[in-house]
């Protein structure tokens, strides 16, 4: 947050004039690139760049004890960490509130859409189920982390292989695979709208994010339903703005799904 006040005012002024510093339209994403399977030991991984924003998601699958109130269901765990190299603002240590909020919004999008068929992840009811760990790691924060993280998580999960379970020794064999992670075809995609000067922008740079009043993330599924929402930061929104954000997210989510074949 070491931006000069003049810079911030300049960005806002240009946005009031309908312009972004890098020449993009308000609802235009930067280039998105995806790398798959970069981590040899993970059950799946994806690294997503949106512009210079750089997020890697690794998926590990292991066995564990089910929760008492859902003894037949596998378990989803989703965490996020900012590397201290991601931004001059971050410091190492226990996950800060920003990374907790980020991971919880991504988590709800995945969980509530029933993307992962947890009912197929039971090994022994009440005793042993598969646990799916989704770990988000922010390597470079150049804005719009949430959408980048959401895409990386979805892409990694779509490529995840189940490790083999040896029922004799009751051991997991991580380097042998046993089919795909069972998923339903909902492809939840989070799209975040940032409110600056009363306007909605998509995919802000780090500087644009710093001058935004607030943001709303809307996660939608393939059928256009809403599965998670989160208004964040201290600005306010009207009912109308919320409904407009939903419209935009449904539309942009569909575009991303098509573009990235999700």
């Amino acid at each position: 947050m070491s931006m000069l006040v003049q810079n911030m005012q300049y960005i806002k002024k240009r946005i009031a004039q309908g312009e972004r510093l890098d020449g993009r339209g308000f609802l235009e994403f930067r280039d998105i690139t995806v790398e798959n399977g970069i981590i040899s030991k993970a059950e799946a991984s994806a690294r997503v760049h949106i512009g210079k924003t750089d997020v890697v998601v690794g998926v590990k699958i292991d066995t564990g004890t089910p929760f008492p109130d859902s003894p037949d269901d596998g378990i989803i765990m989703c965490g996020a960490e900012f590397s201290s190299i991601a931004s001059p603002d971050f410091e190492n240590g226990p996950p800060g509130i920003d990374s907790i909020e980020l991971s919880r919004v991504i988590d709800r999008g995945i969980r509530e859409s029933h993307l992962i068929s947890t009912e197929k992840l039971c090994i022994t009811p009440g005793e042993k189920v598969w646990m799916v760990f989704i770990d988000i790691h922010i390597l470079n924060d150049a804005g719009n982390l949430l959408d980048a993280a959401g895409l990386a998580a979805l892409i990694a999960l779509k490529n995840a292989k189940m490790p083999k379970y040896d029922s004799k020794t009751e051991c997991v064999i991580h380097d042998e695979s046993d089919g795909n992670l069972p998923l339903s075809d909902v492809s939840p995609v989070p799209v975040t709208l940032y409110k600056i000067n009363g306007e909605f922008l998509l995919d802000p740079s780090w500087e644009e994010k710093a001058v935004s009043d607030c943001q709303i993330t809307v996660t939608t599924t393939k059928d256009g339903n809403i599965t998670a929402m989160q208004k964040s930061e201290s600005g306010t929104m009207s009912d109308k703005e919320v409904m407009k954000a939903i419209d935009l997210s449904v539309k942009e989510g569909a575009k991303l799904r098509k573009k990235l074949k999700l």
Binding site: D69, S70, D73, P95, I97, I100, E101, S103, R104, R108, R111, E112, S113, T118, C214, I216, T221, G224, N225, I226, T227, A228, M229, Q230, K231, S232, E233, S234, G235, T236, M237, S238, D239, V242, M243, I246, D247, V250
Partner: protein
């Protein structure tokens, strides 16, 4: 939205327009709000929404150390939401969880727009939200009580913030989900609003709804919040009446 197996007694959440606790779809649980309930805090409030019970206490504004936590240009609002260990079915371990940290943040974001933070730079206002008894809707009730506690502490405010949730149960959009409705329903959407301009200061959602259902839910929570604003004002008036 918790996804556990539904026991027999909750097989149907809505029968002939009535919910499991007898309420209509657009009806809130009974609400009690009191202001000025604590001695040591600079401001305080107590709320009951059904059997959800929360105490809110404010200390400040005060100058705090370390100074780096303060802001040169405006007051800092520090919000801490905590479930007491005995407030839930399974004993909650003391200390902040990831869930409580997220709620502390969104509650802070929900209340900040109501305060003239620029009028008191370089000070901190601390708001503690203690959930004594939890039965769904704790973040919404905590925000509602928190706003009353801030007003009770004499913090200069633009308006009151209240919050309630709408959700979807067995296909019906309903106001203010209770515990089993939250556990076995299809969606939950807590929304906080600022009384002075009707703007939304908190919105979260998890579950599954169409766009039209979200729109209908927003209408419902607006009505809920209008009711809560009147209860908040009543509580603050009630306190001053006692004093007179």
């Amino acid at each position: 939205m918790m996804g556990g197996t539904r026991p027999d007694k909750y097989k149907k959440l809505v029968v002939k327009g009535k919910r499991i606790d007898g309420r209509k779809l657009d009806e809130m649980r009974p609400v009690i709000i009191k202001a000025g309930v604590l001695d040591q805090a600079d401001g305080s409030a107590y709320i009951e929404v059904g059997s959800t019970k929360i105490l809110a206490g404010v200390f400040g504004p005060k100058v705090l150390h370390p100074k780096r936590l303060l802001d040169e240009d405006k007051a800092v609002l520090d919000v801490s939401y905590a479930m007491l260990p005995f407030s839930t079915s399974e004993r909650a371990r003391p200390g902040p969880s990831r869930r409580s940290k997220e709620i502390s943040k969104v509650a802070k974001n929900a209340l900040e727009p109501s305060i003239f933070l620029e009028e008191a730079p370089q000070v901190m206002i601390s708001l503690q939200l203690d959930v004594i008894s939890a039965d769904a809707g704790t973040r919404a009730a905590a925000i509602t009580a928190g706003s009353v506690a801030l007003a009770d502490a004499g913090i200069p405010m633009k308006g009151l913030v209240s919050a309630c949730a709408a959700g979807k149960i067995d296909g019906n959009i309903a106001l203010d989900l209770c515990g089993p409705e939250d556990n076995f329903g299809e969606a939950d959407m807590p929304v906080a609003m600022l009384s002075s301009n009707n703007e939304i200061t908190l919105l979260q959602f998890d579950g599954d709804m169409t766009k039209d259902e979200v729109s209908k839910s927003l209408e419902l929570v607006r009505k809920g919040n209008e009711y809560l604003w009147s209860k908040q004002e009543e509580a603050l008036r009630g306190k001053y009446k006692e004093v007179d």
